[in-house]
Point group: C2
Chain length 290, copies 2
């Protein structure tokens, strides 16, 4: 069952999200303007698309997913804005455009990131398409995902690993899951909170997609040229960053990704979704070259 058109669901969902992102802020001060700048940088919108696709598989109307989709993209963007800061990864470019602190200032980048976190949660809590119970459940789940036991802890480990001589594969996988995986998991599992569906295959799929998403990113980062990706590549190696392909090698990372891909596809079969657009989309994610 799907209401999505198999041929163009990606573009149509991206359009839906971009429209909603564009109408969010009135740009009446530098903070709003800089948030709009960061949000308008066209990424793949992976997180909101996962929410809409899983929601479609569960027969949830799109209007009940909009606020969660928006929030996931805003949280992701906030994490990039803070991650790009000079005291963190110190990146000047993001998807080929100057990072927020380069375009505006460092203080504006700190503050805009702060305000983006606020905005994301507020959008969920004020969504009239959701019951109070669901607003609380979903916002709490998102906060659990991004806090000191989740995304922030992963970010901190990532920076700390730069100073370590040796990091194990398990430590890298754990850091990946915290830093990137949990937010992807949230996107796959949040619609399930609305529909009340229970099936362990969802959790297995979510974990597999989440961890492998970062592994693929790290592989691409090592392989592709600066031009191709629109961000500084091989910078990770220069900065003594510990990504999976750097620590365990490219071949072993590819094997690891294949393992997660197989698990993902098995879960889709278990859920009867192997011919749903979600399956195509996930397959494309595993095969992506940027």
């Amino acid at each position: 069952m799907t209401v999505l058109n198999k041929e163009n669901f990606e573009v149509s969902l991206q359009n839906r999200l971009n429209q909603k992102l564009n109408s969010l802020l009135k740009n009446k001060n530098i903070i709003e303007e800089s948030i709009s700048y960061a949000l308008s940088n066209p990424g793949k919108r992976v997180r909101p698309l996962l929410i809409y696709l899983v929601g479609d598989a569960l027969n949830i109307p799109e209007r009940k997913l909009d606020s969660i989709a928006l929030a996931s993209e805003i949280i992701h963007t906030y994490s990039l804005v803070h991650d790009d800061l000079p005291c963190m990864d110190d990146d000047d470019l993001r998807r080929g455009k100057p990072t927020l602190h380069k375009k505006y200032s460092e203080s504006t980048a700190v503050l805009a990131g702060d305000a983006m976190q606020t905005l994301a949660i507020k959008i969920i809590l004020e969504d009239e398409n959701l019951s109070n119970e669901n607003r609380v459940k979903i916002a709490s789940f998102l906060l659990q995902t991004i806090g000191h036991e989740g995304m922030i802890l992963g970010q901190d480990q990532d920076i700390r690993f730069e100073e370590k001589l040796k990091v194990s594969k398990d430590e890298i996988i754990e850091m990946n899951r915290l830093k990137t995986g949990l937010l992807i998991e949230f996107c796959i599992l949040a619609p399930i909170l609305i529909s009340g569906t229970k099936n362990d295959a969802w959790q297995e799929m979510a974990t597999s997609v989440g961890i492998s998403f970062q592994l693929i990113d790290d592989l691409l980062d090592l392989e592709e040229s600066e031009e191709n990706l629109g961000k500084a590549t091989n910078k990770d190696e220069q900065k003594n960053k510990k990504s999976a392909p750097i620590v365990v090698g490219i071949i072993d990372t590819q094997k690891e990704i294949k393992k997660y891909e197989d698990k993902t596809m098995e879960s889709l079969v278990k859920l009867g979704l192997n011919s749903h657009p979600l399956a195509d989309y996930l397959q494309d994610l595993y095969r992506r070259r940027k």
Copy 2:
């Protein structure tokens, strides 16, 4: 009506709050440890105390106020941690102790601040003493208070004013209200969301206490020596900061504060609270020397 002991309510409420703050985190990683470090720096705990005092005036049991009180102090502390960063106010000391980025690192300070915002909202949303409706209402109100139309906008204006040659009194007052006032207003008005009380005098009191709180701080900052306050003083003038006493002078700032004090006391009379501990506490705030 009060359940508070007039003689020692301040110490007993501070103890209640500190106990809850101490049991919040297990310090099992650097992020948690640094958050505990920031929260244990003993401030006056003005914001939670206002919440408990207003709640007492409205006959709300303390257990229904705990999460809001905790959240207000955590949000305040997060704003200080980010405000102290080198790219913002660049402060090395906070209440006589090294600021978080001095004690740990700049990246940890950014991340710990981020995680504190997350934690504060999560505590309210997961408070089993509040209905889902109240959790949503109160958390939304707090997010409105601290976002891109509130505290963050005020912080940005504060930094931007450093580069301006001239700033008007009205601009300073507006910046004060956004940066500091709104969170104080939240503390006075949030308990009212629980009790459902309606009276314009509460709003008038909240606005007056909020704006004058920052005015008094700025006056003290200009008057007191570094030793006395435990933070760098006169630094504001050196950095071309635009506070009210710098822009309109000490005498006019004192007059302004007196005006707000009178309004506060009138509101207390209108609400029949002029002999409630809240009145004593507010009077002490207006008279404070640090």
